[in-house]
Symmetry: C2
Subunit: 200 residues, 2 copies
Amino acid sequence: MTKTSSPDRPAPPDERHLRPAGRATRAAIEEAARRLFAERGFDASVRAIATEAGVDPALVIRHFGSKEALFLRCVDTSGSIGAVLDGPIETVGRRLVAYFLQPDRPLVRQRYLALAQAAHLDQVKEEMNRHTAETYVAALAPRLDGADRELRVALAVAQLSGLLNLAFRQEDPLVTDADPDRVVALYGDAIQHLLTPGLG
Amino acid sequence: MTKTSSPDRPAPPDERHLRPAGRATRAAIEEAARRLFAERGFDASVRAIATEAGVDPALVIRHFGSKEALFLRCVDTSGSIGAVLDGPIETVGRRLVAYFLQPDRPLVRQRYLALAQAAHLDQVKEEMNRHTAETYVAALAPRLDGADRELRVALAVAQLSGLLNLAFRQEDPLVTDADPDRVVALYGDAIQHLLTPGLG
DNA sequence: TCAACCAGTCAACGGTGTTGACCGAGAGGC
DNA sequence: GCCTCTCGGTCAACACCGTTGACTGGTTGA
């Protein structure tokens, strides 16, 4: 008796064979989750998301398996960072810092805070490591000179994460009260020094 | 009617006027908390700490006020970092990285993970900012040349926290699998570049 | 002696993520 | 048209969390 079509009872929904009603509420849950995760980070509770979507909390789990899986689906790490990485390699350090610190892009801040808050979950860790490798290392390492190209890009990502940590999460006044242009110049050059030691 | 000596009922214990029995169990709770916080970070539950100490969970709160306060008391940020900071300023970058990445000091790793995990708590944020200012900025800024001395030290701390984040929390294989000596050299020089731009 | 106070226990509150039992409705096969 | 079966959804409950307040005993100081 193969149990391919009827896995016991709880039956995890497979995205495909869903009826229109199920697809609609599923979308409503995901939309509510995106909004609340952006507002409160991983602290947004499953029950609050369910209330926002006008649905029973159990249904959230039934549709997405777990809070962690729903979170991963809602927080996409993609963004307009590609254009920054594709620009001139000699000035990518300052451009990266300027991109993440721009005050008129609250989504960047929100996304970082949500991810940093949930970084203890294994799947989130994997996703972030994958993002580092497939976005940053893939874009920059081939364009570098010298040894340890991939490691140097990874360390540059570490520098970036440290700055965002102190500025957004830690909110250290020494950084938040500083002149943003000075931060871009100083920290951007430090990143640049790791990527292209000879220049600058 | 001044309520200086009798604040209603619950009476927060003031460390001073404690009977020997109270002092003993208080110490037992703190010892259990230190062990469990080191093992599991902030996820260690008050109930688990109480069980480990052979005590009722309510007593933990009665003695320390809250889980957060107990955590702050147990995770001290002090260490042997002072000696590293007091050494030659021209090579402090590499020495800092080497100090934190040394594999034979699991306490450094544990302490960082516990603090990073609890960084969303306001008092933990304040404590970490205070530590940055009083330990790192106070020790290094007066010995630097040029402008933005304090900001540059704070940004160097940001660099450090980013490296520890990627190495300990994120466990990015690009960093964990790399040759530690290369990481010390590359990242240490990047920090050094921020502190003493002219040298090296 | 007796009142005040400390040490400690107990049950409960409101919150969390998650599970399993249950029910109504719609779709497919005969 | 009926019957069956699966999907959509609700409900109550579980186990855990941090925290609170009421309560009991034992010790201490006046």
